[in-house]
Symmetry: C2
Subunit: 438 residues, 2 copies
Amino acid sequence: LRRGAITNLQKIVNKTHAADLSVVFRNLSVNSQRKLFDMIVDYEQRAVLLSELSEYTFTDFIETIEVEELLDVFDHMPADDVADLIADLPPEKADAVLEKMKTEESEEVEDLLSYDDDTAGGIMVPDFVALSEENTAREAIESLQKDFPDVEMPFYLYVVDEHERLVGVVSLRQLVVVKPGTPLRDFMTTDIFSVKTDMDQEEVAKIVARYDILAVPVVDDNNRLMGIVTVDDVIDIFRQEATEDMLKMAGVGEEFVETQSVVSSTRIRLPWLFASCIGGILAFFIIGHFENTLKQVTYLAAFLPVIMGMGGNIGTQSSTIVVRGLATGRLVADDLRNVVCKELCIGMILGIIYGGLIALAAQIRFGAELNTAMLAVSVGLAVLSSMSIAALVGSLVPMVFGRINIDPAVATGPFVTTSIDIISVYCYFKIATQLLGL
Amino acid sequence: LRRGAITNLQKIVNKTHAADLSVVFRNLSVNSQRKLFDMIVDYEQRAVLLSELSEYTFTDFIETIEVEELLDVFDHMPADDVADLIADLPPEKADAVLEKMKTEESEEVEDLLSYDDDTAGGIMVPDFVALSEENTAREAIESLQKDFPDVEMPFYLYVVDEHERLVGVVSLRQLVVVKPGTPLRDFMTTDIFSVKTDMDQEEVAKIVARYDILAVPVVDDNNRLMGIVTVDDVIDIFRQEATEDMLKMAGVGEEFVETQSVVSSTRIRLPWLFASCIGGILAFFIIGHFENTLKQVTYLAAFLPVIMGMGGNIGTQSSTIVVRGLATGRLVADDLRNVVCKELCIGMILGIIYGGLIALAAQIRFGAELNTAMLAVSVGLAVLSSMSIAALVGSLVPMVFGRINIDPAVATGPFVTTSIDIISVYCYFKIATQLLGL
């Protein structure tokens, strides 16, 4: 790059929002990443960029950054993001950073690090505005300017008693519309939604979404205000949880790994296919067991794909509906009997329709040749049983998992598909052996 | 219910947030729904309840409500929600409601109804605070109290010129920390993110999420401020889009229908299984074509489940990764060649590993009996080809769809699975026929 080009590039970089730069960033070599990072003049923008990076990009890039430089950037970052990044640092570097931070800040960050990543405590920011109920609206506004210049988004001002226990909330909007001399006590809302530090982040997100609030206060067991979870983090949680659910259902773990190398992607996907492999091997032992049946009516083999395919597809339908229904609250785990019965009914109706259709096709293709309608009847019945079983298992397993508080999405990946396959194949050969009198 | 019980119930109902009541609501008969609705004293809570209902619950329930009653509730609802509900009303009722509304309001609602549901125009609220740049901070605060008492969440105040064109934005926070006499011009931000009325809602949501803002202004082609999209709607959009993607991938349309009756659920799911049915019938014609091969080595049939299963599972992995990667921006459609090559590599590596493993199992079970290793070799090669093809097709189809701006999620349902099945079966029999010299 020529000197002129660099100056131009620098101008562009500093006019671009760091969230956009992060997209470019991950496609660069570590060397170019370093150059780009240095071009960013504003420390706030550097902070946004760092916190937007994926874990893998961050750990590679961070090698090039000195502890001192990192501290300068962390100064311009909310404490929850700092804690997240420190958790991803190599241990020695993390310790060095925490040691050199200002005491107050490092205490904040260490507090945050002590909570589980996926709980309210792990995602809250300790930057909130807390005032006493004696304060007037005017004092509150003054305090906003003087005492809380760093608070990111002060839409709500929390009111606490002398023991830091949460007693009320006022919105910034209320503050500007009441008479300046009114004490907060007189217009604060005392009916507050708050969450405990150990609540699962998905539950927290659902509360914020359900009540359309911009932030929810996080309290400890003594109702002391510890932090707030803001709506921007809630958006990230929902997107992350949806991604995790989809990946689990597809059997690819729960981390989005496609930005990694071929070798690591392969390693992560390898074990998830093992269930399917074992299932397949089991299936060929089962079919081997029906060797005699198969020898006499070779055509039986021709229907394996359609029987497995129809079962597989309706099973995916049922399990997706249940998993997503539970995640969005449209279905509740306690409603097990109703949901499963309904899916079974749907499976049986669709099984009768498609079983009939496929039996008809089988009769047209092979009926004359074999001089019996029993092959077609067996195929039809096998499709019906395969589809009913698939709808049953596909809805039952995630519902049961949801009820005993295991993530339903895990229950629906390769394991369920494979067991449906095996049961279907077994039923098919059993029915055919009986009906064809073999 | 006895009289005392009703009074008690009424107390509970009025203490419960309407968002929670909506969960109970959908499990009640229309009659009980009506009684519950009447128990709610506060019109705002009635409004929240109505806007939280699913389309199907709403259309059934609304039969029991008179136009006048509906108007009272709509008075307490933001215009975008009113527009959404009116769109779901039967046409005569919708017309009656619009006629009887106050002119100003009905104009607002009719304007909103003219935009496509899934665009910025369809989801924006017309309740925003717009001021002139000549206004001082004090005037702005006064105006908040007098002119805009209804604005839901006034975190941002927009500054417009004499033609209503958007020129700047100030936050409520800035308003309270500057000197009261400062004109907005002096501290407003002129570098604003805004979106056009016809922008797709998913794009709008991504902008709000990326820049961590609470609301984004919506402008028409002349940069005139028409409304704002707030962060609470953005959360709903992300959840809805994730649900749609999952349902499309599972082949169940895009609406969540499990709250409907068995018959309507069945009707909606029926056509999506047709691709799989046709594919399965095609597969038995293909296998019928290899009748001779199959007659001589009956055992070939035993490996159909494992070959199809391994291909199906890796295909689901690849397509889920691509679809979700595109939706979250972790993958970009322009990167087609890289993404597809990588998936193909992964497919081939996993194919070699599992192909080897399954061939070994096949040799152990059937090798001695048949006195040849060729069956095992055919099976191994078939697994390899099935997995490579599945990874290729599973990533290529959604990437291509993403590039030509068709929703990639549609591309990955039953159609892809079925075509992978057929290709795999064909390859398997072709390979076996060759290797076993049949």
